[in-house]
Symmetry: C2
Subunit: 255 residues, 2 copies
């Protein structure tokens, strides 16, 4: 293998869900990556790259990127019919150790949420890389830099913590949006009214610490408003969440 | 009063905190609003508009906008030394009824979060208006339209619900950002890594419903990851929140 001085890293992407597809697009746009094959259970329509439905047909490549759901990464990596090659997964939630030891292991985790039919600019997406050895790490960093300006080495344990934090700012935050949408809809109010506020709330912490810009009834310990809100929420499931989040903000105040 | 056909609405802003200052800037930029005075307890430096520290010195205007903290709106409105004029507050959390009845009452609530030293584009900020009578409502709508493209009539009860929803997407969401920042910092990780994810999460719901784009361990009922995350959070105060938010997402799944 000669990837350090070579101009091209050859890559095979295994799994063509949201992450696989977005990585594929970003790598296709790069001069220094050649995607040799896409492995997917079903045939993908209108794809110029060679496809493969059987692991026995996989070509030789510098790097195999497993972009399957977390719970099948381990078994799938064990099913690969070769050894001593570099195999990585793309998951924030899975340890590098879930990968079969018969190949050299690594992680190539783009810290972002991907949806079908939504364009993303990979340039700003942090790529968190990890590998068993320095040479592989170097290749993953170079590959990362070919699609993003932000590549960082993150250990499996660090990635676990990062993933919990990501659940808070992505999954849980989206759930709060959904609660607001439900409250709006139930009261015949247009959810769109809240969108500029959502945008600004996210924008605010680009330059300032969230702790610094916290506002609201809980922050200023405005018991009257909190009581009114709890009453408005009645016995709904959201009352409990309102209460917990309010208490958590109050606790932060005391620090 | 002749505001329907007049080109100018004359306004006095009472209270010069974040909301007062931002409204002032937006109104100064409008051709159809004349800010006659700013009332504030302390003198504001470098302000071209006439200032006033004593309610006895307030001029006559089409509209008085109280932009004080919620808990003093009522008393302050009662302290105004005139009657039968149009007096509004700017609060999402306070009913129109907190205003003294001696004047004509209304609400002019810009649904946004304001910070010092942060520019906001009022054009996209929904202005929620309410008034005791149609003529005043019309004036508030016209005034709203002079600084924003989005003006809506919202009753006090509707505004209460909207305000609860706003607490979820603004105060509570920011608290989730702060939790993520704490987790990152405690594990010597750079919080900046999470910022593109925060931006994208907010951006996603501009065009799609939050319910539709919900992802994550709770959404797919990934018990293994949830267990791992709860363990990582240990006995921290955030464990409880993780648990509650996860349960709330699961409940939404079942609907």
């Amino acid at each position: 293998m000669n990837f350090v001085t070579s101009l091209m890293v050859s890559v095979i992407i295994l799994g063509f869900g949201n992450v696989g597809q977005h990585l594929y697009k970003a790598m296709q746009a790069s001069d220094t990556v050649a995607v040799l094959q896409i492995y997917n259970r079903s045939l993908v329509k209108n794809l110029k790259t060679e496809q493969c439905q059987n692991v026995a047909d996989l070509k030789k490549a510098d790097l195999y990127i497993i972009a399957t759901p977390d719970d099948v990464i381990g078994d799938f990596s064990a099913s690969l019919p070769f050894k001593d090659r570099l195999v990585v997964h793309t998951s924030g939630g899975a340890s590098m150790n879930v990968l079969s030891k018969k190949n050299r292991r690594g992680v190539f985790y783009p810290l972002q949420t991907f949806s079908k039919n939504t364009e993303v600019d990979f340039n700003n997406i942090p790529i968190c890389v990890e590998a068993d050895n320095e040479t592989d790490l170097k290749l993953l960093k170079e590959l990362g830099r070919s699609i993003s300006e932000k590549v960082v080495e993150i250990s499996s344990l660090e990635r676990e913590h990062l993933h919990v934090a990501a659940v808070f700012v992505n999954n849980f935050t989206n759930h709060l949006y959904q609660i607001a949408e439900t409250i709006a809809t139930e009261n015949k109010l247009d959810f769109n009214l809240l969108k500029p506020l959502i945008t600004e709330t996210a924008k605010k912490i680009e330059t300032r610490s969230p702790a610094e810009v916290q506002t609201g009834p809980a922050k200023r310990n405005d018991k009257k408003t909190i009581e009114k809100h709890l009453k408005l929420l009645g016995n709904s499931e959201y009352r409990k969440l309102y209460d917990e989040l309010t208490n958590s903000i109050k606790k932060s105040n005391r620090k």
